[in-house]
Amino acid sequence: MNVQFRESTEAASPLTVKTAIADCDIHPARATRTELYPYLAKRWQHHLEVYGIHAYQGMMEGPPYPKAQPNASRRDAYPPEGGPQGSSLSFMQEQLLDPNNVQLGVLNPLNTGQGIRNHELSAALCSAINDWQIDKWTSKDKRLKASIVVSNEDALSAAAEIRERAGDKNFVQVLLLSRNVEPLGQRRYWPIYQAAEEAGLPIGVHAFGFGGNPITPSGWPSYYIEEMVGHSQCQQSALASLVLEGVFERFPKLKMVMIEAGFGWAPSLAWRLDKVWQRLRSEVPHVKRPPSEYIREQVWWTTQPMEDPERREDLLDVIKWIGWDRLLFATDYPHWDYDEPSRVLPAGVSEANRDAFYLGNARALYGIIA
């Protein structure tokens, strides 16, 4: 009989190297409230202290602590040196990147400068977040790549930020959120798409955001669980808008990544769009092809939250429609609905499809050479 205590469990863990993966949705956090100040002009530091942030969102308690777990994050993800989950590079390396053999990690900072009413402040905060991503994360770990955060409601300054960062290898995509003041296909956002297409950068559309509209299409819900499922509804209307306003037709090289809103709904949305487009196409003559064609050619999907149907074969059917070359694996670390890489795919997936799913698709989309 031998009793070992928990401190020694690392010695017992297998030393085999896990399959290399990409993690296409990692959320870095600020350790302190003022961590961005070194990247903000004094004018904006003072502004924040005196006036704070005015969001488009009326219900400011929309994103409250703790959202199912503290900071909507894994309870085991607090860094040992303190600070919120996701705020320590060394702990992220120890808990996520090293044990899972993450070769490419795409950072998507949330609670940045997006969705706030003062557009100059929004632009300053987004630019600061981008500098901070380089300084604190990507320059210190070459596996990590940043998303260019842009002031989404002021597309001209967003486009300027994209052009300024274009060609900087620290960045691999432009980050938008799914809740905006208007559906994402609207022309006010087109300068963002034009700049991204010119820069050869995909647009990542992450769930959440503060557009001021109710967070479900039928109004403000009673429960957090309704917001969780509302993300897929929100992404569906965003995607329909992108297709029907002609964004994909106007920007044929634009690539969109739908992040953290599931993908199981993609086939049914595409079928429905195709069906009504056949009947109502004269209303939108600029949409020259069946909507499903644009979606299959120009849209990628991150996996977390991975669909988890009772019959695992149903999942494979959905992926077959979407295409094994369109899914990007993501954990959503450190958030509480994190997906564990070794547990998300059912058995019976070919090695080629697994490799594409876990790493190949992300490398190809983001232009990261092995």
Binding site: M1, V3, R6, T9, R75, D76, D337
Partner: protein, 137 residues
């Protein structure tokens, strides 16, 4: 079924838990209101260290608007996805048919039996005057 000495009882007061690895398995032993329970420290869903989650109660409802909160401090909530399990049995509350955490019987034995029996603790200094928490697996 082998028995493993976990700790002297005064090192595991009510409301606390202790993490161990026994025969390669991660185990957590809980003291809930003076009773001891052992659970596999691995969530059957995606493998998180389940027992690092908070101990909560069980919210149940017979009708909308009627909420009963029972089993206070007896439900372990996974630190990742919030799946809930009964510490006493390992029973899942979201899908009891498919998911269950392996539960191990734990109880207190007098120090004399721990020392005199075949179950000598190797890493815990055994004091004969103490009682010990023992888990079986």
């Amino acid at each position: 079924m082998a028995r493993h000495v976990i700790a002297p009882v005064d090192e595991l007061p009510p409301g606390t838990r202790k993490f161990l690895e026994i025969e390669g398995r991660p185990i957590a032993v809980f003291n809930i209101k003076g009773e001891y329970f052992g659970l596999m420290n691995r969530c059957p869903h995606q493998g998180a260290a389940l027992c690092e989650g908070p101990l909560i109660g069980l919210a149940q409802s017979s009708d909308p608007g009627e909420i009963e909160y029972t089993k206070l401090g007896e439900i372990i909530r996974c630190p990742w996805h919030g799946w809930e399990f009964d510490v006493r049995t390992g029973q899942s509350y979201c899908d009891p048919r498919r998911f269950r955490v392996k539960a191990y019987p734990a109880h207190v034995e007098p120090g004399t039996s721990v020392v005199k029996g075949p179950y000598v603790a190797e890493t815990i200094p055994v004091r004969v005057e103490s009682d010990y928490v023992v888990v079986e697996l």
